[in-house]
Symmetry: C2
């Protein structure tokens, strides 16, 4: 059993609309004296994906303006408390205030989630394959709260080259019985793990996870395999 190693890349500056994220990543990678290896996983925060893709809008900081943006981004409001809205976004994510983010953004602006984070991940992966000839996985992450437990964790909004959910149905346990727990959200475990090396305030939008087993790699998307549809959900 191999070790799994995570590292992050310092020195990535402010990201703006139209920036080439792959180039920014590779510059930071080279500056850190690191290389990419076969079956590494590159984790990218959705914040910089959104900035590079121009998903930055005017926002005056008022509750009224937040409601306006939530109205654009969310298809449903599940709960309200004070300024907090628990929303279902157009992607089907359930999160706080539709993921609208005004920390680490220019004054008078807010950052929206990427339109299609799986597509963003696929593009990033294709760019790395083209420029470095490596087969890696890519995860685009954001920070979400949870029901029932305090604190936020990083989860996957999009992925490429990876198996989002490991399906153990039919797998037998050590005593020969079928496993109860059958679908493991590997992609969210990678996302959560990446935050062990990406401190919130350090401005490091990239992490690399190395040494994952071969069954982590494959095809699939967060939209198709991780997002639970409302009709299949006991808490909507």
């Amino acid at each position: 059993m191999n070790d799994v190693t995570l590292f992050t890349l310092p020195g990535v500056g402010e990201v703006s609309s139209g920036d080439d994220l792959v180039a920014l990543f590779l510059t930071a990678l080279d500056a850190a004296g690191r290389t990419l290896e076969h079956h590494d996983v590159v984790v990218v925060t959705s914040k910089v994906v959104s900035k590079a893709e121009g998903r930055v809008v005017a926002f005056d900081g008022t509750a009224h303006d937040r409601e306006r943006l939530i109205g654009l981004e969310a298809t449903r409001i599940l709960r309200r408390r004070g300024d907090l809205r628990i929303t279902e976004t157009r992607h089907g994510f359930v999160n706080a205030n539709a993921g609208i983010d005004h920390s680490n953004t220019a004054a008078g602006t807010a950052v929206l989630l990427p339109l299609d984070p799986d597509r963003s991940a696929r593009r990033f992966r294709a760019g790395l394959a083209r420029q470095r000839g490596v087969d890696v996985g890519v995860v685009v992450t954001d920070t979400f709260g949870r029901a029932w437990r305090h604190g936020v964790v990083d989860v996957a909004l999009g992925c490429a080259g990876l198996t989002p959910i490991l399906d153990l149905r039919g797998t037998l346990d050590a005593t020969g019985r079928r496993l109860d727990v059958t679908e493991v959200a590997l992609i969210d475990e990678i996302a959560a793990a990446s935050n062990l090396v990406m401190a919130k305030h350090a401005g490091t939008p990239f992490a690399v996870v190395r040494g994952l087993a071969g069954h982590f790699f494959g095809e699939g998307s967060v939209a198709d395999h991780v997002v639970r549809r409302a009709h299949d959900d006991l808490f909507r």
Copy 2:
């Protein structure tokens, strides 16, 4: 910024009531040619904690008997679908079927969650300090489903020597504004990360996480800091 490394320990056999988990862990550690270092984190699955603590009960595999056990373990049923019950346990955890587990258990039995997983973690940590003179963190984990997203992830049921939730309130972002996202559930990110090296079917109840930043270490418990009380929860 240091790398974070995770590894697991093979060769741990079946665990039974009364077994000394610290001894089992250290035997596996030594057999793997590994040593513990200052500020390592040892992750232990609740399954083996429960077995060692004798939390194994008769279970005939029927829906009726499952209901009986759920009745013993849960204080509230939040949702029902088929055989599935989403429960609130005596600890305040919200999970499936009160965490009653009959995979990898002897025929005719089921394993219940530890009575006090934080205490289990503290005892394990004290044992490691006594036997090896190291200051490490300990996390006791289980596998939980989530609202809104498919797949299960590992979460922390108990911890010792660690800061369960990193409180960033008052922290400024790179532009000088206060961060929106203020409390990061580090302990659940460690738990999720540990599953990257602990394959479900490989019978490896221990993992070690090495290289976490100093602010991960401190005081706190899952019961006091992570479990969200019902009155503070929008989804109960």
